[in-house]
Every structure is written in C-alpha cells, then in structure tokens.
Amino acid sequence: MSIITVKNLKKSFGNLEVLKNINAEIKEREVVCVIGPSGSGKSTFLRCLNRLEEITDGHVIIDGQDITDPKVKINEVRQEVGMVFQQFNLFPHKTVMENITLAPMKVRSSSKDEAGTKALELLDKVGLREKAESYPEQLSGGQKQRVAIARALAMEPKIMLFDEPTSALDPEMVGDVLEVMKQLAKEGMTMVVVTHEMGFAREVGDRVLFMDGGYIMEENVPSELFNNPTHERTKAFLSKVL
C-alpha cells in the first residue's frame, strides 16, 4: 500500500495554474527523486504534500489521511512528514539544541531530557554533536542543512520531503549533506527529494519523476529514465544537466 497517494492534484496561484493534473503513488521506504526545469512546479508539488500550499483541487492522501479534507487535523499529519528546505530555515534565535528539541517538546510533549538525549543522538548521526550549543549563524551552510535534517528527524516522521537541499550550498559542502541523506535512505526512510543532483538521483533514488509545465511528464527507475528517456522534453532537459 502507498504511504502517499496523489490524485488529480491541481494547484493555482490566482490565475496561474502551476500544477495541472498530478497523479503519483509513493510506497513506504521508497526514495523518489523529482527533477525538472526551474518553474516546472516541483516545489509546489512537494509543498502540497504537507499542505504548506493550499490545494486547489484533487486529493493528497498521506498515510491513509486525505489532507484535502478540511476536517483533517493537519498539524498531526505534519508531525509525520518532515521537511527540509533549500534555505535551511533554522530558527536564528535558538541554539542548535533548541532548534531540534522545540517541536518534540511543544508538539509531542516530550520532556526536556528526553528531547535533549534524542537531539544529541541525531547530532551524532549528522556529525555535529559539538555544535549543540552553537547558534545557526555560527555554522556553515552544510552544517546548517544537516542540523535542519536533524530537526526534522527529531519528530520521528514517517516521510521526509527535501526541496533542493543542496542547491544553496558551496560545492564542497554538498557531499556531507548527501551522505546524511543516503544514510537515511539506507535506513528505510520514505523520501521525496526535489534535486538537481543527478548523481544522487541515479544512485539513491528508487524512482525518478520528471516534471515539466505542471505535469509529471515521465517517471521511471533511474537507470531507465536517465539512459532511455522517452519524452522529447525529458531528453532535452537531461542533455542540459548531464
């Protein structure tokens, strides 16, 4: 059974229809990479999966709950869906430790000790335990993004969404972040990753979606999509990025 089901999803900003008719199924433990030209609607698609964008039409079912139903408790669904942003969006007035423990304490009512122990474990995992008491401004971009991943993981989500997590990073920082994501994939996390890192998509992705003009134009396992794209648009895009 799919943990994410998207049916006839449409999204408009005013008169601009950005997602035209999206259908997708994502299974538990699957890693799905979303690629496509800038402005094709990748971020909007991802942001519809935790309803950061209001959904214009269609259905998005997350772990059995249709989040387009106005009665759904969206804050509870979001606890199961972690999100990592291109610009990190760490809370600058809080230490790394506080960034990670805030949501578990306020949303899951964890005790400070419990949340702190968990946070240190996660910081170990992303290789940043010694930064626990630092503020975000004292970290490099790559470190910030690893903290952001730890922050999302602290809620023990079932699904992780990544929106171009390495696009704002200096090239030498990209590897560290991808390494953490690879590890996560290996542990069986369900992941949807919007990315320009074709190497990552090829190596880690179970499936790749190619988006263009508000549609999913083509989807396949990475080896097929990269080596034998069927759509002209896919070929044109890949010839530019590969």
Binding site: N89, L102, A152, M155
Partner: protein, 216 residues
C-alpha cells in the same frame, strides 16, 4: 533664599514625576497589549477583523492626541453609565494612542520575518499560535526594539499633555510651582532636565536590552 525656594519646589516636582511615571508605565503596558492584539487582527486571515484593526489605527493616527484626550475625558464621560476620573482617562488615552502606533510597528515587525521561518515551524507540526509565540514574535520583537523605544519616548512626552485635564503630573506640578515661586525660568529648566533624564534612562535600558538580545 532663592535656592530655598527651588529646593522647596523640588519635592512637588518629584511627586509629579511619580504620577507621570505611574501613568506612563501602566499605559505603555496596556498600549503594548493593544498593539499586539490589533497587529494580529490586522494580519488575521479574516477580512472584517483586518478592517476593524485598520479603522482603529487610522482613527488614532488621523486625530490629534489632545482631541483624543478630550473625547475620552469629556466626551465619553458625558455619556450615561460611564464615569471615570482624570487619571483613568489619561491612562486610557495614552494606552490607546500608543496602541495604534505599536500595532503598526508590530505588524511591520511580524511581516519582516522570512516566511521560511513559519513554514519550517508549521512543517514540524507547530500550531499557528505556537509558531507566533515561539518563532515569529521573539524574532520580530528583537528587530522592533529600537522603534518600540522611540514610540515609548513619544508616549512619555505625550503624558505632559494630561496636565490640561488636571492630572498632577510633572508638567502640572511645574506649572503650579512656577506660578507659586515666580521662578519660571528655573522651574521649567528643572522640569525639562527631569524629563530628559528619565528619557535618557529609558534609552539606556533599551540599549542594554538591544545588546543583550538583538545580536541573537
């Protein structure tokens, strides 16, 4: 001899200062709460609430302080079932007046915080209220502190207008002492210095808070 007259007047001026500070502190706290509530109404995703907030802000910004004071003290007081003394009227007026300006300051502060902050908070499952309380407002306040200090200083100076409805504040005591002693120059100089010192202290406190918090 002359020095005696001045030193005899001084305790009265200090009494007046007490009244000024009393009214200022209560009014500024209430004003801040009004400002916060109005700012949130202004930004609420419900149109009629936005309008109410806008009407309030514009009504206060578009009328002189003295007219507001007279409206509340003489106008409202003339209505049936409403009756308050001059001090209460003074506190209400300063609070409402400061509230309208605070509302705009706080709204601008909230809007200056990057949307990504709220998105990160909401994506973690925080409610809209938790997001405001833990993420947006703390950052906004740090940013707003200089403007808030400024408005507080203006409000402190506005309290001197309360003397016209007979509140025995520092300015009123200055008036009384200057006519009682025939030492207008010295009395008003001293009154001015007292206001200056209070405002200077206020600025020092604000600077301290800023250094303490704004860096983060």
């Amino acid at each position: 001899m002359r020095v005696d007259i001045i030193s005899a007047a001084f305790p009265y001026l200090m009494k007046g200062l007490q009244v000024t500070l009393y009214i200022f502190i209560i009014a500024i706290i209430i004003g801040f709460i009004i400002g916060l509530v109005v700012a949130l109404l202004r930004l609420a995703p419900i149109k009629p609430l936005n309008w109410i907030a806008l009407i309030f802000i514009n009504a206060i910004r578009g009328t002189p302080f003295l007219v507001q004071l007279f409206f509340i003290y003489f106008g409202l007081n003339s209505l049936p079932f409403i009756s308050f003394n001059s001090t209460t009227a003074g506190i209400i007026t300063v609070a409402i007046n400061a509230g309208a300006y605070f509302a705009e300051i706080i709204r601008a502060g909230i809007q200056s915080i990057d949307r990504g902050q709220s998105e990160a908070a909401r994506s973690l499952g925080l409610t809209g209220f938790q997001n405001m309380y833990h993420i947006v407002l703390p950052q906004a306040f740090r940013r707003m502190l200089p403007t808030i200090t400024n408005q507080s200083i203006i409000s402190l100076k506005d309290t001197s207008l309360l003397s016209v409805i007979g509140i025995a504040d520092l300015t009123q005591q200055g008036e009384i002492q200057s006519s009682a002693t025939f030492e207008a120059f010295k009395i008003w100089l001293i009154v001015g210095i007292i206001y200056f010192i209070v405002i200077y202290l206020l600025t020092l406190i604000a600077n301290f808070l800023e250094r303490r918090f704004v860096l983060r």
